[in-house]
């Protein structure tokens, strides 16, 4: 038994030293998978851009199970990968227990900002700021005086989106009516385009003529139905204007790809701590391209740009949902 143990131990140690020669970055996709058309895919795009530019490779894994969260973190850390980039708030808990064990490894986590571990770079986005801007655009484009918001899974993060959106809309038109719905309470809500489509129809029947989808894969159904029904929609995370040219008012950009690209580019020396990327850092914004230039008038653009600058300068304060777990202008 002892002999077996030492043989096995030795083999394990050998495998580890062999792997330690690597110093590539590693990217851990969440359960949604690499090609989720949204969050994880944006990360992949950023990593790919880095890889194309530098010619270097990176390690990656698409998680299959909860137990693999810690496993992947540890394995990549032990293999010498640096930094280890992870996606989404579900990694927060495993990171708190794994990261302290590998003080020399830098970890990066997107959408998390509350951990107290020194070797983690926590990247959060000021989604409420970007949402504020698209909220303004929505209110200006709306003819009915009613705009809609469709969230994915009902978590504070998404309420955070919705709250910024509502504040932006109210800033343009204090009397505007905002209809808000969440797709569900489980991760399945991130990928339910059929439900997204149903909610869109329901909101249209309540008078909404611009609908903002902050719902991952579910948003595909929202954008599609909005285009079919002849109203405007707003995409999220990536630039989704091209999905239905002329039918998507704009997209709230959340530059996950940039965050991943920057982390990989910095390599082992990536700065740790909490980073919130807002309008000032170009971490969030709204998309303007040839697909929607006809929808955004110069007047609208000017108003939004003005607000953007004011937010950066601190003249306009967009209230974050996180501050006291509630939204001053919208109840969910």
């Amino acid at each position: 038994m002892t002999f077996m143990k030492s043989v096995i131990g030795a083999a394990g140690a050998l495998a580890l030293t062999a792997a330690a020669a690597l110093a590539e970055p590693a990217l851990i996709f969440d359960l949604g998978g690499k090609f989720d058309k949204s969050f994880n895919e944006a990360a992949f795009r950023g990593a790919k851009r880095w890889s194309d530019e530098t010619g270097n490779s990176f390690l990656e894994i698409e998680l299959q199970s909860e137990a693999q969260r810690e496993q992947a973190l540890r394995r990549f850390a032990e293999a010498g990968a640096n930094p280890v980039i992870t996606m989404g708030f579900a990694m927060a808990d495993p990171l708190t227990s794994v990261a302290p064990d590998y003080p020399d490894t830098k970890f990066v986590v997107i959408d998390v900002s509350w951990l107290d571990v020194p070797n983690i770079r926590q990247v959060a986005f000021a989604e409420h700021e970007g949402s504020y801007l698209v909220g303004m655009l929505a209110a200006m484009a709306s003819k009915t005086g009613t705009v809609g918001f469709i969230g994915g899974m009902d978590v504070p993060l998404i309420r955070h989106f919705g709250c910024g959106y509502a504040q932006g809309a109210k800033a343009v038109n204090p009397d505007i009516k905002i209809v808000a719905n969440m797709t569900g309470t489980t991760p399945a809500a991130w990928n339910d385009p059929v439900k997204g489509s149903e909610l869109t129809k329901a909101q249209i029947s309540q008078g909404a003529d611009v609908i903002y989808a902050a719902a991952g894969g579910t948003g595909v159904g929202v954008l599609q139905t909005a285009a079919d029904e002849g109203i405007l929609s707003i995409g999220v995370d990536s630039n989704q204007n091209h999905l239905h040219p002329g039918k998507v008012l704009t997209s709230m950009l959340k530059r996950v790809d940039v965050a991943v690209y920057d982390a990989m580019k910095a390599g082992e020396n990536v700065e740790t701590g909490v980073f919130t990327l807002g309008l000032a850092e170009n971490g969030v914004g709204y998309a303007l391209d040839e697909n929607n230039e006809a929808l955004i008038t110069d007047e609208m653009k000017a108003a939004v740009e003005e607000a953007r600058q004011k937010i950066i300068d601190g003249e306009i304060k967009v209230v974050s949902y996180y501050e006291n777990d509630s939204c001053p202008v919208l109840s969910f």
């Binding site: 808990d93 489980t186 991760p187």
Partner: protein, 386 residues
């Protein structure tokens, strides 16, 4: 007369099934342009080539032992419990409530309480379909499947509304207090100079699962209750004749089954995650069906099959970590093994039976001059019914 020697039934058939699955998997891997030999080596090395790999393999195996035993016990009463998944989910709820709301002085006390609570929750969840089957004739396969969905919804509701810490995004409970942390293999087996099972989630509940295997074996083959469960499973009319109450056996067998499935939570919830997340069971309840089928509903077979499936899971994770084989194809490979060992049993069995018959005949023909079979063999000659 048995058509095949028992060793062939127990060893040869699973082995051939595995080899067939391996060949098909190799073709799949070849098809996407990867090297199957390297892939297998990576799976084997990753899963059983180090104490770390074993730590994961045995962690998964512990889950599958509990759910496999759950299915096996119900099988003996000819009840097809598809609800292991939901029962394990509810078991997780039981564990979480006990761990979060009681200040435990020591993990050992907490483990006992959590195991009891998990078993009680799982059993309660199995009791409703069992009662519907025994009293109302609602088919247990249908009801247990439906109860999986209901369990997911219940868990979702509990996590989202009641158990999620304020402000948390994740539909999950808070982390359990340090006092209920179960000793992992790393803590049990490592010595100062030699860390073993480093970071692996295998923990003390593995031994609980092994103990459960032994207990189920004793229950089924050594106790009066086990005798009655088997008798009922083989023949309901027979059970009625012997004064064995179908209602009682259905209820008890399903309670035990649900309890075992629920107890899985001491491994994945209490031992590994140390908090309850939404998809904590991750299909282990369904894998339990394949494990029970492959293990011929015998606890020792379940033990071996659970380790095999643990190997597949951990080996699959290693493939995902170090190769470009997509996650979906790793699932395909795992599914092929399940398909061959669980569902396509007869595909291998029938030709093999024929082969053994042919061998037997040849052997007899060779000894044709020998005296005719004595009265002993003629006594139990079968009258084969077409």
């Amino acid at each position: 007369m048995d058509r095949m020697p028992q060793w062939a039934d127990v060893v040869l058939i699973p082995l051939i099934s595995l080899i067939l699955a391996a060949i098909l998997s190799a073709l799949v891997i070849l098809g996407i342009g990867e090297d199957p030999v390297a892939a297998v080596r990576m799976m084997v090395n990753g899963a059983v080539g180090s104490t770390y790999g074993w730590g994961y393999t045995l962690y998964y195996a512990t889950n599958f032992m509990f759910t496999g035993l759950a299915v096996a016990v119900a099988f003996h009463a000819r009840l097809f419990n598809i609800g292991g998944e939901g029962q394990a989910m509810l078991g997780g709820l039981g564990v979480a409530l006990v761990c979060l709301h009681v200040p435990w002085p020591h993990w050992s006390v907490a483990l006992v309480a959590a195991a009891i609570s998990a078993a009680a929750f799982g059993a309660a969840w199995a009791a409703i379909p069992a009662w519907l089957q025994a009293r109302r004739g609602s088919h247990i396969v249908i009801t247990t499947i439906m109860f999986n969905y209901i369990a997911a919804a219940v868990l979702n509701y509990m996590l989202v509304t009641a158990l999620r810490p304020r402000g948390s995004m994740d539909p999950a409970t808070a982390r359990f207090p340090e006092a209920v942390h179960l000793p992992t293999f790393q803590q049990i087996f490592s010595s100062a100079g030699q860390p073993l099972f480093r970071g692996a989630p295998a923990n003390i509940s593995f031994f609980v699962a092994v103990f459960a295997c032994i207990a189920v074996w004793a229950l089924i083959w050594r106790t009066r209750l086990g005798y009655e469960i088997r008798a009922y499973g083989h023949s309901e009319t027979g059970a009625r004749y012997a004064g064995i109450s179908p209602f009682r056996i259905t209820m008890i067998a399903m309670l035990i089954s649900g309890g075992l499935a629920g107890m899985m939570a001491i491994n994945n919830v209490m031992g590994e995650a140390e908090r309850l997340v939404l998809n904590a069971t991750e299909g282990a309840g369904f894998i339990g069906i394949a494990v029970a089928l492959m293990g011929r509903s015998h606890p020792f077979g379940v033990f071996l099959a659970a380790i095999l499936f643990g190997f597949l899971y951990q080996g699959g994770a290693e493939l995902a970590l170090w190769t470009n084989i997509p996650r979906e194809l790793i699932v395909v490979i795992q599914a092929l093994v399940i398909l061959f060992t669980g569902a396509l049993d007869n595909m291998v069995r029938m030709p093999l039976e024929r082969l053994f018959q042919a061998i037997g005949r040849k052997r007899r023909d060779a000894g044709e001059g020998a005296p005719k079979p004595g009265p002993r063999s003629a006594q139990h000659e079968p009258e084969p019914e077409p």
